[in-house]
Symmetry: C2
Subunit: 347 residues, 2 copies
């Protein structure tokens, strides 16, 4: 699979704009030589950055845009005034089939609102979701929704399961990814009615392109127990941020512990190879990039504050998603599934 793929970049998005976007794209290009880029934003600023990376410059086209969506713009404002901005234009490139995927480090709310407006949800999908890659002790899993919506009904949760499975097929190359519904551990209240109904559908519907494993508690996500973890967006966003916060907190504990005494300092120095591996494993830049799923086109959201290495991870992810033909296959899965639950309901 070395098909050429064109990546539309919102060069003005994020806290650092073209500076980080261009360098990030250049890093990703060394890893995936089969990419071309269209960079949307201020022509002069982008050209200046591109001069530093001739290999990237050769594979890049710049489309000048005048306006930029502010990082604190409200989604409704962004929709009203955003037409022609770097973000808008980068998304339109996917709609117009000039690019296979869009990557932006801009304002999440604005990016989602514009993506919905321009690309439209897939016909069977009520709500798109944001999927995160989550590092596990085994490798990585996919968690969705991490914040596109608050709440999800049973049908939406089941759709998220199919969407997550499609992404796992694309990224992990698994034919039947394992999927679980995130739930709480106390027996009596084991999920609200929507979680229970989604569970029943996923369990009872035959022939789904996934291996449904039932409920999962929060402490199992990082153990890599399943490939795809499904949860509504409020709890999913909180889980993701809490995991990030806990990793940071333990990093602080570790630094404090290693600088306590001369022995621990010496020991840490001796073990620096090990700590380097650990730092790499815990580096949030390795898995940067939220994937908008359920639209007629793939949009990747990079953290706004990340550096070039982090942005490169988001571009890598965009490339892998663009390689996969995910949307066509997902559309078929959704039609089949909705047909089957329709039959079940009619029985």
């Amino acid at each position: 699979m070395l098909a050429h793929r064109t990546i539309a970049l919102d060069a003005m998005g994020g806290d650092h704009g073209p500076n980080v976007v261009v360098e990030g794209a250049s890093i990703s290009l060394t890893r995936h030589p089969g990419m071309d880029f269209i960079l949307y934003g201020d022509q002069k600023a982008i050209e200046e950055e591109l001069q530093k990376f001739p290999a990237l410059a050769e594979r890049s086209k710049i489309v000048h845009t005048e306006s930029v969506i502010a990082m604190d713009a409200k989604p409704s404002q962004a929709l009203r005034r955003g037409k022609g901005s770097s973000m808008w234009s980068a998304i339109e490139a996917v709609k117009n089939e000039e690019a296979h995927v869009t990557v932006s480090a801009g304002n999440t709310g604005a990016l989602m609102a514009m993506s919905k407006l321009i690309l439209r949800p897939m016909s069977a999908i009520e709500r798109p979701a944001i999927a995160a890659l989550w590092p596990t002790v085994k490798s990585e899993c996919i968690v969705l929704d991490v914040g596109a919506n608050i709440g999800a009904d049973a049908r939406q949760l089941a759709d998220f399961a199919l969407m997550g499975a499609a992404m796992a097929r694309a990224l992990f190359h698994l034919e039947r990814p394992s999927v679980a519904l995130l739930n709480v551990g106390v027996e009596e209240i084991k999920g609200d009615e929507d979680v229970k109904q989604a569970h029943a559908w996923l369990k009872e519907t035959n022939g789904l392109p996934l291996d449904y494993r039932g409920f999962l508690e929060g402490d199992q996500i990082g153990q890599g127990t399943v490939d795809v973890v499904v949860v509504e967006g409020f709890a999913g966003n909180i889980a993701l941020k809490t995991a990030e916060g806990t990793a940071k907190q333990i990093g602080q504990y570790l630094r404090d512990a290693m600088s306590r005494t001369v022995f621990s300092k010496l020991g840490a120095m001796l073990a620096r190879g090990g700590f380097k591996v650990l730092r790499h494993k815990m580096d949030p830049r390795r898995v940067n990039g939220g994937t908008f799923l359920g639209l007629n086109g793939v949009v990747i959201k990079s953290h706004g504050g990340t550096d070039a290495l982090g942005f490169a991870s988001a571009v890598d992810l965009g490339y892998e998603m663009a390689q996969s033909g995910l949307i066509g296959r997902l559309a078929e899965d959704l039609v089949t599934f909705h047909h089957r639950i329709g039959q079940n309901a009619a029985e």
Copy 2:
């Protein structure tokens, strides 16, 4: 404050029964000499364990009970058949003012159901909550609800804020604890209507016995940004479990990293003092114990699988809560608050 306090122990609760409960109580007694105990359960089994701890035996009374609530019993079963069990009797001791607090490592659902039935929710409270102590880089904060209920409306969230503040006053000895509502980070969807309404009430109501700080994202919990974090029980339970899982995951990474090469092994040995401090900080047994808040009496739930050290933490927590006169003060706060939001609504 060295008033004597009587602790009712469900000696049969948890995976290990009297074995862990008795040794745990004995450890806690060395830290808080002002405790007496009533142990509910199989007299012979408890006596056998108590023989090993003469100082504890001197301060303990045994009340023999015949039945035990199974760890996998459904709450509804436990309510129907649980009368006279060790768990039931230990809770009744608080209702009958024979003990100041109950500690059990038994089945959470059964313990909550019985506690609600026997102790009853406080008059102004619609739903009790389970509050967890959460380690932070500064010290600890309180997070509630971590799983008593799924979902919470605005009024319940505001009540949780007052309940958490009362607990923070009791444990941290702060007159006006800082409180925040846990929320998601995406602007447009910043909380559902209940979270927004609770935010408005907490912000606008004057004279509350707390310092309301607005919204907080999941990554800030472990930074100790506030003393009390309020969230509905589904997301709260998932956040708690996710943090536990992330800590475990990073522990695994760290062990792997430190055993990679002979240098990292040597370094880890040299730095073992530092690692010991780290292990202590990350030890989940240090903060074992969920507090049931909003009932006419305090019940502490210990992890079922913990050992004596972990159970001792739950007993410590019970003692500190029993010391504090929390319920009387909380009852006043609730009356005042509900009166004020009533006034606001009438204006």
